[in-house]
Amino acid sequence: MVDRSQPVSRRGLFGALVRPFTRHLKERPVAHPEEIPDADTPRVAIIQGRFCLAYQGGVCFTCSERCPEPGAITTQQGIPTIHADLCTGCGICHDLCPAPVNAILVKAKPPTQTTEPSEPS
């Protein structure tokens, strides 16, 4: 009989895999269920690496492909980074992120950033 009784070692898992996701079909937990500020407030998107498929050794390019602001999300070796100065906080990446636990938070922009004139007009 095949021996499956041994516990799985961390080494045996994918190196980058901190912990396996569980996808609950009904409720789709948001990482920090704090409210998304409404669209009038200046907002910015943030990727939570521990929930992002790309950060976890998987493959995903939804946010970087679908973000409407040129340059707001760039990728390196498949891993996305959001550039707060270019992000308009539109929330599209949050709405489309297909990770089992939504990896993108949309938060109010810290005041220091909102004063920067770097937002594309």
């Binding site: 499956r4 799985v8 996701f21 569980t22 492909e65 297909p98």
Partner: protein, 806 residues
């Protein structure tokens, strides 16, 4: 609770009890099964989608799949899943599941009872058994494929059965058989953990086999060095991770492979000892003939033929620089490297698919990159059981279970004996392969269209056949042709079907799959199918039984017994064709165990059912060791690992076509594509899949997250071509080929950055059927069509309209 609800409830709970009873009859304790603190019952199953064959943990509560997680102790995926895998549970719960059989009456599909449906099918087959064809799938479970095979090739003495795998890995099969004499890869995914160089041949594993891709790239994050060489006709998401990218003109991969062989020989850098001991040379019979076995060649003749493919000539033909070609050739010349080649549809869906497969095996054999961990020519499959069901069960038009073929009398006799059928029952003439099957179906009977009924299970030919107008849509005008489709959701195929059968999906039934690395994996039914949906294997058995009741002689074996008669533990026959009794025994186990001995002849020994119950799959050949354990095989044909290799031989190709334990190194020439860009149609058109959707999207488009992430098809264009034509992102573009036209939004560069003069369109979108444009010319040996290249015209369409991009 009103009476209706109550009756349904009782029926459901009775069925649930039956499911539990069938599982208990598995006869072994199940280690994967447990209940957690939230009351979720966890069990295991392979993922429903791709040929990678990841294992998932399935969480069920209140009769529904409520959670999915990667199985940490599964060797394939070690806890990881791709974005599709995490959402696999959602495919069961699309709003438009089919739940009742429907017959087309005066143009409209009207609900009918299962009994009526089975009767309609049986009567059509009874009338014209030789005009009936069964079109199946690499997503069929092994028991489903085996039952279909026994039913048609045995019961009806008719060989018109083919799986959609014909469109997918037929060229890999002919490549393996003509090289090693027996199908399926020698290596496994373990090679990816050891290789120092991984080569993608027209392959985009980042999107198509994401977990395998992660397995390779993950090594880098652990500090290991692995060189990735990407050889393709377009940049892909995988290219981003490659150390070298070689972009070739479509079809010239043949020349590149030959160039490597020529370089190794010319520079005396091939592995002489290996070649001398283990290889023969082989060529086509003549310049025109392209068959499976060709003829023997001397080394000198092989060398002379190869000598055309110099670096300069190949560079000119393919567009790859001499420098890059030299780098590639030198990689194969360096005996310190451990090279694993991966390929899938880029090589298989190829007008010279068999040739290209042979050449890849050839360069690995010439360079001795074979038979040690990390060195292997490994073809991947796209479907979860292309290997298990299409290849091993042999559901192809020319094949029989366990690597047998209908053309060989002794192979037919083996099966007739196993099935207890009279000698001569199985027809010796191969049936129609997929393209021919649908061509005959779409041709009027009076003009030689001698297929009048097709039963389709677990696949969607209305979207996947090439040249759809000719091979599928033409059926609409033929009143005497009858299309029966077993499906889970409405699709392009059910749209013109005459009879639609609602099917159980994934963990709504039990099953056994076989993945790309010879791994056989089993799962149990975990939830009830919705409404009147039923198991495909039940449908096949019920049709057979109806024919038996009508007195059709083939449905009886030599002793007059029904061909699917199975007993319970008390030795009583169970009427499994009656759905109320289908779950009284484990039908999957009965069929699988009947099939299992048939796998021994070609040393494809699959593991016993009860052993699979507590494993995350085992890779055949699986043999029992002295201590009673079952041992799988990681590398076939090597003495170190394969139990069937004679001691002292090192490597033994024990099914060699030349009966001398040697493999064949083929020479196959570069030959032009059947349709190349020309004045009228100046672009290359390539089609394929995307990460988020599996094949035709019939399942994944029902999952919100996946549909949102990739909602519709598009055409990828090179920025310069787009600028020439004044096309911007989102503009509508009309593509026209000699077979049809389609209008879709442009995505400049897209995921791939297609080179100038070429476009790419994914095939998942049922509203934008790119296969209306593709070519139905096939590889002459494997009969697999080429979806990767044909000639198309590209025009800006309706300049004022814009469409949102995916």
């Amino acid at each position: 609770m009103n009476t209706m609800e109550r009756r349904d409830f009782l029926k459901l709970s009775a069925m649930a009890a039956a499911t539990a009873a069938a599982q208990a009859k598995a006869g072994v304790e199940r280690t994967a099964l447990h209940k957690d603190a939230h009351g979720i019952r966890w069990d295991k199953a392979p993922c429903r989608f791709c040929g990678t064959g990841c294992h998932v943990k399935v969480g069920v509560k209140g009769g529904r799949v409520v959670a999915i997680a990667g199985a940490e102790d599964a060797d394939v995926n070690k806890g990881l899943l791709c974005v599709k895998g995490y959402h696999v549970g959602g495919i069961l719960y699309g709003k438009d599941r089919l739940t009742t059989p429907m017959l087309r009456k005066e143009g409209k599909l009207e609900p009918i009872s299962w009994d009526e449906a089975i009767t309609v099918i049986a009567e059509r087959i009874y009338k014209n058994p030789q005009k009936f064809a069964f079109y199946g799938s690499g997503q069929w479970t092994i028991p489903e494929g085996y039952a279909a095979q026994k039913f048609i090739k045995g019961g009806l003495s008719n060989n018109h059965i083919d799986p959609n795998a014909r469109l997918c890995m037929a060229s890999a099969v002919t490549g393996f058989i003509s090289t090693y004499g027996v199908d399926e890869p020698a290596g496994t995914y373990d090679d990816l953990d050891n290789a120092s160089v991984v080569i993608f041949w027209g392959n985009n594993p980042a999107e198509m086999h994401p977990v395998l891709f992660s397995r390779i790239v993950d090594r880098r994050s652990r500090g290991e060095k692995v060189t990735i060489i990407d050889i393709g006709t377009r940049r892909t998401r995988s290219t981003e991770f490659a150390d070298h990218y070689l972009e070739f003109r479509p079809q010239t991969d043949l020349a590149i492979a030959n160039c490597i062989a020529n370089y190794l020989i010319e520079n005396d850098k091939y592995d002489k000892a290996f070649v001398e001991k283990y290889c023969n040379f082989r060529i086509d019979v003549d310049d025109k003939t392209r068959d499976l076995l060709g003829k023997a060649s001397t080394f000198e003749e092989y060398k002379a033929k190869m000598s055309t493919y110099t670096l300069e000539y190949t560079s000119q033909l393919s567009g790859v620089s001499v420098e890059k070609l030299t780098m590639l050739c030198e990689t194969f010349a360096d005996s310190k490297q451990l090279i694993t080649s991966l390929w899938c549809m880029g090589v298989n869906q190829h007008y010279r698919g068999t040739a290209m497969n042979r050449l890849l095996h050839g360069i690995h054999l010439l360079s001795g990159q074979f038979g040690k961990p990390g060195a292997a020519p490994t073809s991947l499959t796209g479907q979860p059981s292309a290997c298990g069901t299409a290849r091993e069960v042999g559901t192809l038009a020319h094949a029989l279970p366990g690597g047998r073929i209908v053309a060989k009398p002794e192979h037919r006799a083996d099966c007739e004996k196993a099935w207890n059928m009279a000698p001569g029952t199985i027809n010796e003439k191969p049936g129609y392969h997929t393209v021919l099957m649908f061509e005959k179906f779409c041709t009027p009977t009076a003009e030689g269209g001698d297929i009048d009924t097709i039963l389709v299970q677990v696949t969607n030919p209305g979207q996947t056949l090439p040249n759809l107008y000719k091979l599928f849509d033409a059926k609409k005008d033929l009143a005497d042709k009858f299309l029966i489709v077993s499906e889970v959701y409405p699709t392009a195929t059910t749209e013109i079907a005459d009879l639609v059968l609602p099917a159980a999906l994934w963990v709504e039934k039990s099953g056994v799959y076989g993945n790309s690395e010879r791994r056989t994996q089993q799962w149990f039914k975990q939830v009830e199918p919705p409404g009147g949906a039923r198991e495909d294997v039940w449908m096949t058995i019920a049709i057979a039984r109806k024919l038996y009741d009508m007195g059709y002689p083939g449905m009886k074996d030599k002793d007059g017994k029904f061909i699917f008669s199975y007993k319970d533990e008390q030795g009583n026959e169970v009427p499994i064709w009656d759905y109320a009794h289908f779950n009284d025994i484990n039908v999957d186990k009965a069929l699988y165990e009947e099939y299992r001995p048939l796998t021994h002849a070609k040393h494809k020994n699959v593991a016993p059912y009860d052993v699979l119950v507590n494993a995350h799959g085992l890779r055949w050949p699986v043999v029992q060791t002295k201590d009673g354990n079952w041992r799988e095989t990681r590398f076939r044909f090597t003495e170190a690992d394969d139990p069937f290799v004679k001691k002292g031989t090192g490597l033994q190709f024990y099914h060699s076509t030349t009966n001398d334990d040697k493999a064949q190194i083929w020479f196959c020439p570069y030959e032009a594509a059947p349709e190349e860009p020309n004045k009228e149609y100046p672009f290359w058109l390539c089609t394929g899949r995307v990460l988020e959707h599996w094949h035709t999207g019939s399942m994944t488009m029902r999952v919100d997250q996946l549909r949102k992430a990739m909602p519709k098809a598009y055409v990828e264009l090179n920025p310069k071509d787009a600028a020439d034509k004044g096309i911007n992102n989102g503009d509508l573009v009309k593509l026209t080929t000699a077979r049809g036209e389609i209008v879709l939004p442009a995505w400049i560069n897209g995921r791939a950055q297609p080179p100038r003069g070429s476009v790419f369109v994914p095939f998942f979108d049922e509203k934008l059927l790119i296969n209306r444009l593709t070519l139905d010319v096939t590889c002459p040996v494997s009969k697999e069509p080429d979806y990767k290249k044909c000639a198309t015209k590209v025009e800006k369409y309706n300049p004022t309209e814009k469409q949102p991009l995916p």
